[in-house]
């Protein structure tokens, strides 16, 4: 933590960056912090409550953050994958961001929880995560971290769902999506949702109806998940942001599993590795063409 604060203060003092995006103590646990003065670097924290994916603030869509000037961002390995995604898709230039990579031993499910990691508290995605430190960084901060508790409850849930008949699965998702209020928090929080105008907001034609009824909700989530195929970094923010508690992560994770199975692609923090969308390889699996 000391190392992080020192580097952040120095970057700001030297004028190398105008803002350091990290986490700070908030009234309800860890929250995003935008530090613009060297003396405020003391506010920065990093522990297992630092759940949020801060890469989302690098998206050019966040004009209020972009307006602050060149940014440094604290990045867990999964956040670094999102930054790589933004670089890959020309949203951020590598030289325009200073990445403060942090070694990570997993995070808890909610930033309001205590920072102790147990099989009950650890975030689902961390329960299977193999990456303890990012490879995309300018500074790598912190001691080597132990592996988080191994939990596979989300994978089991997906496997159980896939055991069901399509009709049963449809019934399950109908029930879940019935509760969607179309607040689009899942989109707003997502680091990889950076379109200037979302297809869901298009009016000529109206691809996705904006009112919240089952048909529109299905259309919205299916579109969102398909747009994330091969791009989602599995930070879990969509599900965490959902005010009605729809298990959106099951959809994104299953899509990621399918992309990996079909195209051998896993989200990576190497911006030079092309995402499967828009990439043609002659050995691409084509069993769906019959």
């Amino acid at each position: 933590m000391k190392e992080l604060r020192q580097i952040a203060a120095k970057l700001l003092t030297d004028g190398a960056v105008k803002v350091v995006i990290g986490w700070e103590e908030g009234p309800r646990g860890a929250r995003a912090a935008f530090v613009t003065r060297p003396e405020d670097a003391e506010r920065l924290i990093f522990d297992a409550r630092c759940v949020q994916n801060l890469a989302t603030y690098l998206s050019p869509r966040r004009r209020h953050v972009v307006g602050l000037g060149k940014a440094a961002v604290v990045a867990k390995p999964c956040d670094a994958k999102a930054i790589a995604g933004l670089i890959r898709e020309s949203q951020v230039k590598r030289e325009d961001v200073v990445i403060l990579g942090v070694r990570c031993g997993g995070v808890v499910r909610e930033p309001t929880m205590p920072a102790s990691l147990t099989a009950e508290t650890v975030a689902d995605r961390c329960g299977i995560c193999e990456t303890r430190e990012p490879t995309l960084y300018d500074h790598l901060i912190g001691e080597p971290q132990p592996e988080p508790p191994r939990v596979t409850r989300r994978e089991e849930q997906i496997a159980a769902l896939m055991q069901k008949t399509p009709q049963e699965r449809f019934a399950f998702w109908s029930q879940q999506l019935e509760r969607c209020i179309r607040c689009h928090a899942c989109r707003e929080v997502c680091p990889m949702c950076f379109c200037e105008q979302c297809v869901a907001d298009k009016t000529r034609p109206v691809w996705i109806e904006s009112s919240s009824h089952p048909r529109a909700n299905f259309a919205w989530q299916m579109t969102r998940v398909m747009h994330q195929a091969g791009r989602c970094v599995d930070c879990g923010e969509c599900e965490r942001a959902c005010p009605v508690g729809i298990p959106l992560n099951l959809l994104t994770r299953y899509t990621a599993q399918s992309v990996e199975k079909r195209f051998g692609h896993k989200p990576s923090d190497d911006p030079s590795i092309a995402a499967p969308i828009g990439t043609f390889r002659s050995d691409d699996s084509q069993e769906f063409i019959r």
């Binding site: 050019p60 898709e89 949203q91 950076f194 105008q197 297809v199 000529r204 034609p205 969308i277 828009g278």
Partner: protein
């Protein structure tokens, strides 16, 4: 309210038999926005077209839907009719109620209902059509021909004779290609060089042909009528403007033992060399790999180890410091004529799909040679002066076994296709052999004899019936060295007997494959190629010399195995296409291309990655004070072929294909 006219065609009985066309017209006429609806026996006939024209004039139509056949058939007909009546042609569309309906259904009720649905969908689309204007682009009346074999030479000469300018690029030091290596040609046995070399000289002397030998295409930009091609001129170490081709440098070069590529490594050449005496241009190339001076420099010698050629050169043309240089040429059309190479039976293969021939010793037996090597042995200009000698000991072979289909037609070796030329040249080889070694015995193992061509079957019959070649139908399972001879173990499937022949030499008719590096060239040109690397033609029957990219044409053996007459015919066809293109002052292109809504574009450039034609560019958008706002995608209208891949890929739906906008397609689908 729109005023759409609907014209339902019976197509004689083709549609009328299964679809109640009168009912289709009646029901469509009741749709809001449809101002006129009729049916007619033959809408594409003159009276039928007159119905369309009259209705536009009399009813003030602002859109036309013709429910008839496929738009591939008559869209142009009806668009022209609309245009003649003052209606923008892109406000006219066709509903396909023939291929999509009457031809594939039997139930009249259901087919009629479907025809109504299909037509209604197009009516809804046309209500949202916008007038479009054709795209006009200027044409650079110069062509690039890639490859200086017989196909490239023919294409270059035909284009130049037709008034176009040509840049001919050849990667080897001389033009001529494989044809210059051949001894005689089937089916007339005329001397290959005698008919080829005058054409090579013609190329060199033609005022409208610019020959860039020992050069390769580095990058291709632009589009039909306006390509920009970057060409690498490889360093010859000889100044082409000074050299007069006297040959002094070659005669003094101390390294005379370099295997000659032209002689298929059966002969030797010097380190500085002209590949063959009739080379065009007759300018030597210094092969740095085998030159003592460059080998010394590579080892770090302080002083140059040689330099005899430079001293001998009376014109100071030799320049050891010469580097590769680049030239950029603007051309309006490109002809790809890169030719072929022969399959090698060796262990090392360029791709895992191709497999060598372990049973033939992976090409390690010295007197097992391929067809091109035999050509060099038989050629008067070859390493033996046209005397047939075997490579191992120079002995005259008394028995030669020729094996056909080596690699070809063999899926296990990764080559399923027929190489086409082998049956003919093997027959030719047996004759050339008999003409030179009168008591020699030529055996041929074949699978089938494919001699379809003018004078071809007569030619193979002559080899068998008059020239004593012994044809055995079957394959050879093994080649084995046994003392002085090669044991050939084969089967004669017509007699059902196994055959063993003691051969002095074995000649393999190995498969024809495209040149190495063809894939990377094809990618530079954005043209498609098949699994073997042969360039794909735009249509196998109707567009045989066009490629998937407008303005790029193909000729010769880079498209499929081809013999000389086929290559020449194809080259002339490609030249005709080029000259046809050049006969236009401007090109008119369909305006159905993609456009980007720059204000919505997020600049993720998925479109750039998926565009098969390289039509997507990055455009910087600046505000009034010149500050960079963002970088957005921009579609070059000249390059775009309107395939719509970018439109499908764009996550924010900021790309629209003109004439097929999301709104139009949405409306059409919603009408169903």
């Amino acid at each position: 309210m729109p005023r759409i006219g609907v014209f339902v065609c019976h197509c004689g009985e083709n549609i009328g038999r299964t679809v109640d066309c009168a009912r289709v017209a009646r029901e469509l006429g009741e749709l809001p926005g449809v101002a006129h609806a009729v049916d007619y026996k033959y809408m594409c006939s003159d009276p039928g077209q007159r119905l369309v024209k009259q209705a536009i004039a009399e009813k003030g139509l602002d859109g036309v839907v013709v429910a008839a056949c496929s738009p591939r058939m008559h869209e142009r007909t009806f668009r022209r009719a609309c245009s003649a009546s003052g209606l923008n042609p892109y406000l006219c569309e066709m509903a396909n109620i023939r291929e999509h309906c009457s031809w594939i259904h039997e139930d009249r009720q259901a087919a009629t209902a479907k025809a109504i649905d299909l037509t209604r969908a197009i009516v809804e689309k046309v209500k949202r059509n916008r007038p479009l204007e054709p795209i006009r682009i200027p044409v650079e009346k110069r062509a690039l021909v890639i490859g200086g074999g017989i196909a490239g030479i023919q294409a270059a000469l035909d284009i130049a004779e037709g008034g176009g300018e040509v840049v001919l690029v050849e990667k080897e030091p001389s033009i001529g290609g494989h044809m210059s290596q051949l001894s005689e040609t089937f089916p007339t046995l005329d001397c290959s060089q005698c008919i080829l070399t005058p054409r090579m000289v013609e190329v060199y002397q033609h005022p409208r042909i610019k020959l860039l030998a020992f050069s390769e295409v580095e990058a291709v930009g632009g589009y039909i009528g306006n390509f920009e091609v970057k060409i690498r001129r490889k360093a010859r170490c000889v100044d082409e403007t000074k050299c007069n081709g006297c040959g002094e440098c070659q005669s003094v070069c101390p390294n005379k033992k370099v295997p000659s590529e032209f002689d298929q490594e059966l002969g030797r050449r010097t380190a500085i060399y002209v590949p063959f005496p009739q080379a065009v241009p007759n300018i030597p190339v210094l092969d740095r790999e085998s030159c003592a001076l460059f080998k010394g420099r590579a080892k770090g010698f302080k002083e140059d180890a040689c330099g005899k050629c430079k001293q001998a050169c009376g014109r100071e043309a030799i320049d050891f410091e010469q580097q590769d240089s680049f030239v950029t040429e603007k051309v309006g059309a490109i002809v790809v004529a890169t030719g072929f190479q022969l399959y090698s039976i060796g262990k090392d293969q360029p791709t895992p799909q191709l497999k060598g021939y372990g049973e033939y010793g992976y090409g390690e037996i010295p007197d097992v040679i391929d067809g091109l090597q035999f050509e060099r042995l038989a050629s008067a200009s070859g390493p033996t002066g046209g005397v047939i000698k075997r490579p191992s000991d120079g002995k005259e072979p008394k028995t030669i076994v020729f094996l056909q289909c080596i690699g070809s037609r063999d899926a296990a070796k990764g080559i399923e296709y027929c190489s086409k030329i082998c049956c003919m040249y093997v027959a030719k080889h047996t004759m050339l052999y008999r003409h030179k070694v009168h008591d020699g015995r030529a055996y041929v193992f074949y699978m089938d004899i494919r001699a379809a061509g003018k004078g071809y079957d007569e030619f193979t019959r002559r080899a068998i019936e008059k020239e004593g070649a012994i044809y055995l139908r079957g394959r050879v399972s093994k080649l084995e060295r046994a003392g002085d001879v090669i044991k050939v173990y084969g089967a004669d499937t017509l007699s059902g007997e196994p055959v063993t022949i003691d051969a002095d030499m074995v000649v393999l008719a190995t498969a024809v494959r495209p040149q190495p590096g063809i894939e990377s060239l094809a990618q530079k040109l954005s043209i498609s190629y098949d699994a073997h690397g042969f360039i794909n033609e735009a249509h196998p029957k109707l567009r045989p010399v066009e490629t998937s990219t407008a303005g790029v044409f193909v000729a010769g053996a880079c498209q499929a195995p081809r013999d000389i007459p086929d290559s020449v015919a194809m080259a002339s066809a490609a030249a005709t296409k080029v000259l046809g293109l050049f006969s236009n002052k401007e090109l008119e292109r369909e305006p159905t291309v993609a456009t980007v809504n720059e204000s919505l574009c997020t600049g993720c450039f998925h479109c750039e990655r998926v565009c098969p034609y390289g039509a997507v560019e990055r455009r910087e958008l600046k505000d009034g004070e010149g500050n960079l706002n963002k970088v957005a995608a921009h579609v070059n209208k000249g390059v775009c072929q309107g395939c719509g891949t970018c439109q499908a890929t764009c996550p924010s739906k900021s790309v629209e294909l003109q004439g097929f906008t999301d709104e139009q397609i949405w409306a059409a689908i919603n009408a169903l």
